[in-house]
């Protein structure tokens, strides 16, 4: 990988180098060196780090969304989300707008579930199919870490609010798992953009 012509890499540049991994590999193959050099130039010219990261944050969000929703995986995710919204809407109309309907909470859990799995796949690569490989890669460590964090959050919420039947925490937790599963299937079927 070609590095920008600088004496020493700043922390910001190291962080940006890491964030670049969120882009599709084919895009990075073409532009990684240029983007790192541009960042280094922007950093040198920036009046403050806050202004620099404001520009970079907005740029990352906009361009990553553009890459993602232009890909087959993006189309799949939109289809899954539309289906999920439809199921939610049907449930909502059947049971009425009662506060704390399970559908609402399950829907809320589904989105972070998909997002968590997407980041895992982008950062650590597409997982191996073989079970013997599972638990060995950084991808799996990340996925297990997210699961454990999610279970901890659920347990803490459960103990604070008591074992209420149909408690939102349980449903959000329930929505998170199909969200992760949906994205896991998507990355296997369509590959990453």
């Amino acid at each position: 990988m070609t590095r920008p012509a600088r004496q020493k890499e700043s922390r910001s540049l190291r962080l940006y180098t890491r964030l670049l991994e969120l882009y599709p590999p084919s895009f990075l193959q073409r532009h990684r060196a240029e983007m790192l050099q541009n960042f280094a130039d922007l950093e040198d010219a920036a009046a403050s780090k806050a202004k620099l990261w404001l520009l970079i944050g907005k740029d990352l969000a906009m361009s990553l969304m553009s890459h993602f929703f232009g890909s087959r995986l993006g189309h799949y995710v939109i289809a899954v989300l539309v289906t999920w919204i439809l199921i939610f809407a049907i449930g909502y109309f059947f049971y009425g707008p009662t506060p704390g309907r399970p559908a609402l909470h399950a829907f809320a859990g589904f989105l972070p579930g998909m997002l968590a799995m997407y980041f895992a796949t982008r950062l650590y690569g597409t997982p191996q199919n073989s079970i013997s490989h599972f638990f060995r890669s950084r991808f799996d460590i990340y996925v297990i870490g997210v699961f454990v964090a999610w279970i901890l959050l659920f347990v803490i919420g459960y103990y604070i609010y008591g074992p209420t039947r149909g408690h939102p925490a349980l449903q959000v937790f329930g929505g998170f798992l199909p969200g992760m599963l949906a994205m896991y299937i998507a990355t296997h079927v369509y590959g990453m953009p």
Binding site: P4, Y23, R30, E34, N38, L42, K58, D59, S63
Partner: protein, 104 residues
């Protein structure tokens, strides 16, 4: 996008990149500096995403590629035609808007 005829209207990002490249080969950071002088603020991700699409559409081509950190880009003939056509279109729209506002 067709490689023989300008496809209008252009997005603001594409228009400003074409404008920055008019008459001069520039590398990415130089383009960003030129564009930032106008109303559009553009970061590296948006710039290279747009450049990829513009190369595919035949509006822009790579120039000097000796240094992978400083690849230069230039307008193609289609890029120049498209820029002129979009400028004409915007001028007509601005003229119409001025007339409407003037008569209000």
């Amino acid at each position: 996008m067709s490689k023989s005829r300008p496809q209008l209207p252009l997005t603001p990002a594409v228009f400003h990149i074409l404008l920055a490249l008019f008459g001069k080969e520039r590398h990415g950071y130089d383009i960003m500096q030129q564009v930032s002088g106008d109303a559009v603020k553009m970061g590296p991700g948006t710039l290279y995403g747009s450049l990829d699409r513009m190369i595919e559409a035949g509006l822009v081509a790579k120039g000097n590629i000796q240094d992978p950190r400083r690849i230069y880009y230039r307008l193609t003939a289609l890029g120049q035609t498209t820029l002129r056509a979009e400028t004409e279109r915007l001028s007509r729209a601005a003229l119409l808007a001025r007339r409407q506002l003037g008569s209000a």
